[in-house]
């Protein structure tokens, strides 16, 4: 992925990639063609995410948001009119979307959110703030979750609405090539037509299940990239008179990576089919996200060691992927939150509170 190091260092997203990604069908992968999507299945979606994240998690994050967190809820919960208005533009990349769930004080526990909507004539008045929102500053449309009469409800926010601003968040050491923002709502009027037809935590969770599946597939790409770099490096780096790949300790690291990558691929191949058959359970997606992000981070750590001092240079993709994956481990349900989801599924006992 040429130029990504430059964008990572500068903290900018490669904007020229957006129309190109749109053109080859990476936005709206599973959305029917009549709305501009690619009409492909979840297995294809997953593989696309894997290849994007092989480049950089910023591309995959962009695509996860656009596909699973914006186009999916618009396709599933918005009116025909809204679908026609947004989906084709989002598919081509002409419009960019964002997803606002997390708040400064509510991350793992979104049901405590403070952002709220009040019914008025012809629409709703929205107040509150969201934080850590991927593409917030770039977005033309946002799927934002707020409480209406105490129940979580989705709304479509549009760029330029009065009282709405989206300042960029600075100072990240991770996902530097991705734009992360705050969303601030001060008495923003949202027309009736922009309300999504879904109530409760089920709304955002259905989007998250979709996105988490893509993440679980995506991170394999990052792992494959650092593995490949490690194989090449161990064959060419000579110490004590032979390629370091000839030492058992290096071989063990390479074998561990290949082993774990292969297992992750098998999980995703099966989960992809279950998604396509509409039989995947949320907990299965949690298991895949939790395992694969951990696995990719471990691969980065081993790859860093194999590359020695070179491992910290931007000439190699290792630290960039390692740093990116730290965010991926936290967003879309932290590693530990997925442990709790699985623990509850296994035992029937909730350990959240």
């Amino acid at each position: 992925m040429p130029n990504i190091e430059h964008h990572y260092m500068e903290g900018t997203f490669p904007m020229d990639m957006i129309p190109k990604m749109g053109e080859i069908g990476l936005f709206g992968v599973t959305i029917p063609e009549e709305y501009g999507g690619a009409g492909a299945n979840y297995t294809a979606y997953g593989l696309a995410m894997q290849e994007l994240e092989r480049g950089d998690s910023a591309f995959r994050s962009f695509a996860s948001v656009q596909n699973s967190l914006v186009m999916f809820p618009i396709y599933t919960y918005a009116s025909e009119e809204q679908k026609k208005k947004w989906l084709p533009k989002l598919a081509s990349g002409e419009a960019i979307g964002c997803f606002g769930l997390t708040e400064p004080d509510f991350g793992s526990n979104p049901s405590g959110m403070i952002t709220n909507a009040n019914k008025v004539d012809g629409g709703y008045i929205l107040n509150g703030a969201k934080m850590w929102i991927t593409n917030g500053t770039l977005a033309d449309v946002g799927v934002v979750w707020a409480k209406l009469d105490g129940k979580i409800t989705g709304f479509l926010i549009e760029k330029g609405m009065e009282g709405f601003s989206a300042p960029v968040m600075k100072g990240k050491h991770s996902l530097r090539a991705s734009v992360t923002s705050e969303l601030i709502f001060q008495d923003v009027f949202i027309p009736d037509a922009n309300r999504l037809d879904v109530n409760g935590l089920r709304g955002p969770l259905s989007c998250l299940t979709n996105a988490r599946y893509g993440i679980a597939y995506g991170v394999i790409g990052a792992a494959m990239q650092v593995y490949e770099s490690s194989v090449n490096y161990s064959k060419s780096r000579i110490q004590f008179g032979k390629p370091i790949g000839g030492f058992q300790l290096i071989q063990e690291k390479l074998v561990w990576m290949l082993n774990e990558i292969t297992k992750a691929q098998l999980i995703m191949q099966r989960l992809g089919r279950l998604m396509d058959e509409k039989r995947a359970r949320n907990e299965q997606v949690s298991l895949a996200k939790r395992n694969n992000v951990w696995m990719a981070l471990e691969c980065c750590r081993l790859a860093r060691e194999i590359h020695g001092a070179n491992g910290i240079l931007s000439e190699y993709p290792i630290m960039r992927h390692a740093n990116n994956l730290e965010s991926v481990k936290t967003y879309e349900g932290t590693h530990d939150i997925h442990t709790l989801i699985l623990g509850q599924d296994i035992t029937g006992e909730s350990a959240f509170m």
């Binding site: 069908g25 990476l26 992968v29 690619a38 009409g39």
Partner: protein, 248 residues
């Protein structure tokens, strides 16, 4: 305008090739195969002609069952149909050309486009052989192509310069790298490619004029120069970097 694009399946440029146990073929073990890179230019040129003038692109390959993967790739790039002439045995250029000529005769193609060479055997023969067998004008190494009605004009690369040519349709043309920028297959097209028709037929028997007796990997020769830190060697190093390596 109906276009026939001939494609071949070759080892990936990044693969390290090894000779098989028989000493005259490539060891397929772990080798990744791809659509011949020059054929991507040929296909792109064909697709652009059809986008401008209507009609359709048919791709054709001669090769074993496994070649179906490059046909699907071609269909995903935008070809409408594919013809797969099946032969498990590796045929020589004459035999391949004869087989493609049969396909070409069975339909009225306005233009047949090929890559300038297959990067595996580098024979550069297909375009001339097809021209001869079909009694059509053939132009090789085309770097720029314009087709207006039946008038064909363009540029071809020749040693140390360019040649401007003119001919008429139907014609056989092989294209040079850089004539265009081949498109990436789009996801919806990849999905559609799965259900596009592939017409499979057995290869016809022909005379054979060449057979491979043996294959060898060229021995690697490193011609290193060792220079010391004497002043004259430092001057020599600067001179070499400037004049031979041309990097400074």
């Amino acid at each position: 305008m109906n276009v026939l694009v001939c494609v071949s399946r070759v080892p990936d440029t990044a693969t390290r090739v090894e000779i098989g146990a028989d000493g005259k073929s490539i060891n397929n073990n772990g080798v990744k195969y791809i659509l011949n890179p020059y054929d991507e230019y040929a296909l792109e040129e064909g697709l652009r002609l059809v986008e401008k003038n209507g009609g359709e692109v048919t791709v054709c390959t001669v090769g074993a069952d496994v070649c179906v993967d490059i046909l699907r790739t071609s269909l995903a790039m935008g070809a409408e149909k594919a013809v797969h002439i099946k032969s498990e045995e590796t045929l020589d250029s004459f035999s391949v050309a004869k087989n493609i000529a049969e396909v070409a005769k069975s339909a009225n193609y306005d233009v047949i486009i090929l890559g300038r060479q297959s990067i595996d055997f580098d024979s550069f023969q297909m375009v001339s052989m097809l021209g001869e067998m079909l009694e059509l004008p053939s132009v090789s190494m085309v770097a720029k192509l314009d087709i207006n009605g039946t008038l064909v004009t363009g540029e071809r690369d020749i040693e140390g310069g360019k040649e401007i040519f003119e001919t008429s349709l139907p014609a056989v043309i092989s294209v040079q790298k850089g004539i265009n920028e081949p498109r990436y297959p789009k996801l919806p097209q990849i999905m559609k490619a799965k259900s596009k028709p592939i017409d499979a037929r057995p290869a016809i028997e022909t005379e054979k004029y060449t057979s491979v007796l043996s294959m060898e990997i060229p021995a690697k020769q490193r011609v290193g120069k060792i220079l010391t830190d004497s002043d004259s060697d430092i001057n020599e190093l600067v001179r070499l970097l400037r004049e031979e390596a041309k990097v400074i």
